[in-house]
C-alpha cells in the first residue's frame, strides 16, 4: 500500500521529465520550460554543392544544475517556395554526432551541424528560405 501511495507523487514528476537526486524525485522544470534555448547563426547563400556550418548555441536555462545533453537535432520543416520541399534532395543536414556533453549551470555550449545543398536541389529552391527546427535531448545533472 505504501508503494501505491508513493506512486501518485512520482508519476507526475516523471511525466514532465524530472531527474533524480540522492533524496529522490524533485520538481525542477516542466516541458513548457525547456532546459536549454537553442539558437543558430544565420545561413545564407546556399547553392548546389555547397556545405555551410550551422553553429548551434545551447544556452542552459537552469542556473542551479548542470545539464547533460545527449542529442542535438536539426530538421528542415518548411520552405518558402512552392515546389521546393524540405527534403534531403534539396537540403541535407549532417547532424551532430559527438559525445554527450555537459553544460554548467546557466552557461552555453556550441555544437556544429553541417548543412549541405546537394546537386539534386530543385530549381524551385532558388532564393528559398528553409525553416529549421532545433531540438536537443538533455537531462539535469546535479551540480557538484
Amino acid at each position: 500500500m505504501l508503494a501505491l501511495l508513493a506512486l501518485p507523487l512520482t508519476l507526475p514528476a516523471a511525466a514532465i521529465g524530472e531527474t533524480t537526486r540522492a533524496g529522490g524525485w524533485q520538481l525542477v522544470r516542466s516541458r513548457t520550460s525547456p532546459l536549454a534555448r537553442i539558437t543558430g547563426n544565420r545561413i545564407s547563400g546556399l547553392y548546389p554543392g555547397v556545405s555551410k556550418e550551422l553553429i548551434l548555441t545551447l544556452q542552459s536555462s537552469d542556473h542551479r544544475n548542470s545539464i547533460l545533453v545527449r542529442r542535438v537535432r536539426v530538421r528542415d520543416i518548411a520552405t518558402t517556395n512552392r515546389g521546393c520541399a524540405p527534403t534531403r534532395r534539396n537540403l541535407a543536414i549532417r547532424q551532430y554526432r559527438g559525445a554527450p556533453f555537459r553544460i554548467p549551470p546557466g552557461q552555453a555550449r556550441s555544437v556544429t551541424v553541417l548543412l549541405v545543398m546537394p546537386n539534386t536541389v530543385s530549381v524551385a529552391c532558388e532564393r528559398a528560405m528553409f525553416s529549421l527546427r532545433y531540438s536537443a535531448q538533455a537531462r539535469i545533472k546535479a551540480s557538484r
Binding site: L4, L11, T39, M117, R127, A128
Partner: protein, 167 residues
C-alpha cells in the same frame, strides 16, 4: 469461498502495483531524456546568376558549299560548376561592312551537344569567373548561293546554352 476471494483481491492489488511501478519506471526512463532544448532558425538559398557566352575565334573559314566551326567562350559567374548539356544556335547576322551579303545562304546545325557529352564550365574562384572554350565543329554552313558580298564577312550566331549545376 470468502478466503478465496480475499486471496484473489490480494493478487490483483499486487499485480496492479507491479504494473504501475513498471509503468512509472518506463516513464522515468523516457522522461529523463525528453526534456531538452528547442529553437528555430532559417537558412536561405541563393540564386543562379546567368552565364555569358562571348564570341571566340573559329579555326576554319566559311565558303560556299562548306561548313565551318563556331567558336565561343562560356563564362560562369556562379560559385559552382555548371554542366552545359546543349547549345542552341539561332539567328545569324552579318557585320555592317557586308550588309549586302545574302545571309539566308548561311545555315546552322542546332542544337549542339558535343556528341551527348556536353561541356563542363568550372565554378567561379575568387573574383574570376569560371570559363570554358567551346568549339562547335561544322556547326555553320554556306550554300553555293552565297553572293560576292559575303566574301570577307563575319557572321555572328546567337547561342543559347542550357545547363545545370553539377558535381
Amino acid at each position: 469461498m470468502r478466503i478465496f476471494k480475499l486471496k484473489n483481491t490480494k493478487r490483483r492489488v499486487t499485480a496492479i502495483t507491479v504494473l504501475v511501478i513498471a509503468g512509472s519506471v518506463i516513464g522515468v526512463a523516457i522522461a529523463a531524456w525528453t526534456t531538452g532544448g528547442s529553437g528555430s532558425g532559417q537558412a536561405s538559398a541563393g540564386s543562379a546568376t546567368p552565364m555569358t557566352i562571348s564570341a571566340g575565334t573559329p579555326s576554319t573559314s566559311l565558303f560556299p558549299t562548306a561548313s565551318a566551326d563556331v567558336a565561343a567562350t562560356i563564362s560562369n559567374p556562379n560559385p559552382y560548376k555548371v554542366h552545359v548539356s546543349s547549345i542552341s544556335l539561332g539567328a545569324i547576322t552579318v557585320d555592317g561592312g557586308h550588309s549586302g551579303c545574302n545571309t539566308g545562304t548561311v545555315t546552322v546545325t542546332s542544337p549542339q551537344t558535343n556528341g551527348g557529352a556536353g561541356w563542363d564550365v568550372p565554378a567561379k574562384v575568387g573574383a574570376v569567373d569560371g570559363s570554358a572554350n567551346v568549339d562547335l565543329a561544322t556547326a555553320i554552313s554556306m550554300s553555293n548561293s552565297a553572293n560576292d558580298s559575303c566574301q570577307g564577312a563575319t557572321f555572328t550566331v546567337a547561342l543559347t546554352a542550357t545547363g545545370a549545376s553539377s558535381n
